[in-house]
Point group: C2
Chain length 165, copies 2
């Protein structure tokens, strides 16, 4: 009785895929990798939407926050912290510098490296967007218990520590 698709069950899958997907993937739901992927998709989408109102991509805003928190950071350090290649941070730092949010400063003793430092405007921008992102996330987790969230953080951090070894 399952093999013959009920004519009533017209797929009608147009845009609202949330309905018929709800139980079509019950096998994959058992994988936490699947659940993380899908949750990550909406979180990143929401954050991206929030950030682009201020002209940031996820990586560039993360870079600004890191530079604010760790003044005189090096581009190589930034690459390591962002888990991307050095060549990638060049574009990001270029952008932040062009918008006068950070400055590249020469450092005495090593003329190869730049000491990255946020400007006052950069710090103000960080604070403003930081709050916006927090609001966006709060809206996503509204209705959840505080203990559930800390438990989730515990699980996520544990998984991250288990990186292939």
């Amino acid at each position: 009785m399952r093999s013959r698709p009920d004519p009533m069950a017209k797929i009608a899958d147009g845009g609202g895929n949330a309905d018929e997907n709800r139980d079509a993937d019950h096998s994959l739901r058992g994988f936490l990798g699947y659940n993380i992927k899908r949750a990550n998709l909406v979180v990143q989408g929401e954050i991206r939407a929030t950030l682009e109102k201020s002209g940031f991509r996820t990586a560039s805003f993360s870079a600004l926050v890191l530079i604010c928190d760790t003044p005189d950071m090096t581009q190589t350090q930034l690459a390591s912290a962002l888990s991307i290649e050095r060549s990638g941070v060049v574009l990001i730092v270029d952008d932040l510098e062009n918008r006068d949010l950070i400055t590249r400063n020469r450092v005495e003793g090593d003329r190869r490296t730049y000491a990255l430092r946020a400007t006052l405007a950069g710090i103000r921008m960080r604070d403003k967007v930081f709050a916006q992102v927090r609001d966006a996330e709060d809206r996503l987790i509204a209705g959840l218990g505080e203990d559930d969230i800390t438990a989730a953080q515990r699980v996520l951090n544990h998984i991250e520590k288990m990186a292939a070894k």
Copy 2:
């Protein structure tokens, strides 16, 4: 006393970025989007490593599972379930069909669509790889409490439901 970086804290960021990143990003740690992203990175990496031993990418194995669970599925339905475009499933279904894991069957009444169905080999493959992925995930969450995991699942599913609306 936080502003002046301790000279002892020499960055020394060579390859092992897990150490100096631990507290360099404490601001970003407050965002669950950040934690999800990083955890997702290692989970997907682990799953990818597991799947590629059997010649799958994440999407193609998800497709196989979905087709096993929902026989006579349509490619458009599959695209919706995978949250990708129809043009993308063509390559995936091509691959699965070439490996004799599924078959494209014509359906009476609508000569446009294919009814996707897993072969016996496809079902066996699904079961085998399914167990491997579950083992890989179990290794990642080893040491965590059962209640923590269910709480995490609750949080993740809640977030997913909150998709931009």
